[in-house]
């Protein structure tokens, strides 16, 4: 299989989905790690970008991306092929991210109990990066869930239904979370004025 070069984050759901499904079938049927490697090459950029936006830490995001692909390999036979493969992968990535957050929260609680300052928990989204970009400021006003859903929608190009599948939320809730997130951004940054000026 030819090695593909860098792709834009939003990819049209065309023949790529078919190729993905062929590679998934190949990987599942014969435990073919080469086929799965090709799937990783195709989607690593999107997954890493998604996790970087959620964590605001490229090292943590890359670790989580690695775990995401390991989990994806373990659960590959559960991919039904009904939605897009990237949608399914984003679901795995989001679950991995939430699990990691829960673990670090538990760790912080243990540290708290031991009398230490739980720096990990108190560290805010924006404080975790040295350079705070406009995007970081924008994402910092959102909750974890809003951030994930807005990134899935606007950066990864998933439909509301796909986001619902990935997050386990009903489509109506996804829409209201997007609406709420946009409202927060609008009020925090006066985005309408920004686009004209």
């Amino acid at each position: 299989m030819a090695l593909h070069g860098p792709r834009p984050i939003v990819e049209p759901a065309t023949a790529l989905d078919g190729e993905d499904q062929y590679l998934v079938a190949k990987a599942v049927a014969s435990q073919d790690t080469t086929a799965f490697g090709e799937l990783i090459r195709r989607h690593q950029s999107q997954i890493r970008n998604f996790l970087r936006k959620l964590t605001a830490d490229s090292f943590e995001a890359d670790d989580l991306a690695q775990q995401t692909f390991l989990h994806a390999w373990d659960k590959l036979q559960t991919f039904s092929g009904r939605g897009s493969f990237i949608g399914w992968l984003l679901k795995v990535a989001y679950t991995t991210f939430l699990q990691s957050k829960r673990k670090s929260k538990r760790y912080a609680e243990v540290l708290d109990e031991a009398g230490y300052i739980a720096q990990m928990e108190s560290r805010s989204y924006t404080q975790s990066t040295d350079e705070v970009s406009d995007l970081d400021k924008l994402l910092a006003v959102l909750t974890q869930e809003e951030r994930a859903i807005l990134v899935m929608s606007y950066a990864c190009g998933l439909s509301h239904r796909e986001i619902g599948d990935a997050t386990g939320l009903p489509v109506g809730t996804v829409k209201s979370v997007i609406f709420r997130g946009k409202e927060k951004i609008r009020t925090s940054f006066d985005i309408k004025d920004h686009q004209h000026g």
Binding site: P8, I9, T33, F36, Q66, L138, Y154
Partner: protein
Amino acid sequence: MTSKIINMAEKLKDAEDRLLESLLQSTPIADDGFSRRVVTQIRRRLWVRRLALPLAIFVGGAISIKPATQIMIAATKLMTVVPQGMFDVPTGWIPQMQIVVLGAMLLAAGMLGIRMLEE
């Protein structure tokens, strides 16, 4: 009909949506060996999984071979004893059992250890 309207509404993007889209867009990240690292890790895990069971059987077998042979000998002795007196347990029987239990526990611990290493 309703779903078509919903789908259309989903596709209609206003200026705000386009601005958000452009803000959230990211430049593609180069692979730089990322996929190779993940595949290597998956292959290693596959090997560990393939080796775990035979290895556990081998280790468990090696541990339990001595007590197993001893218990076999004790059992053959017991077979000769049983017709004479049903409740006459040979003196060596109870200690042998302890060794077997110890062997089984070691086997279980070994399997758990291998599983933890794999994880």
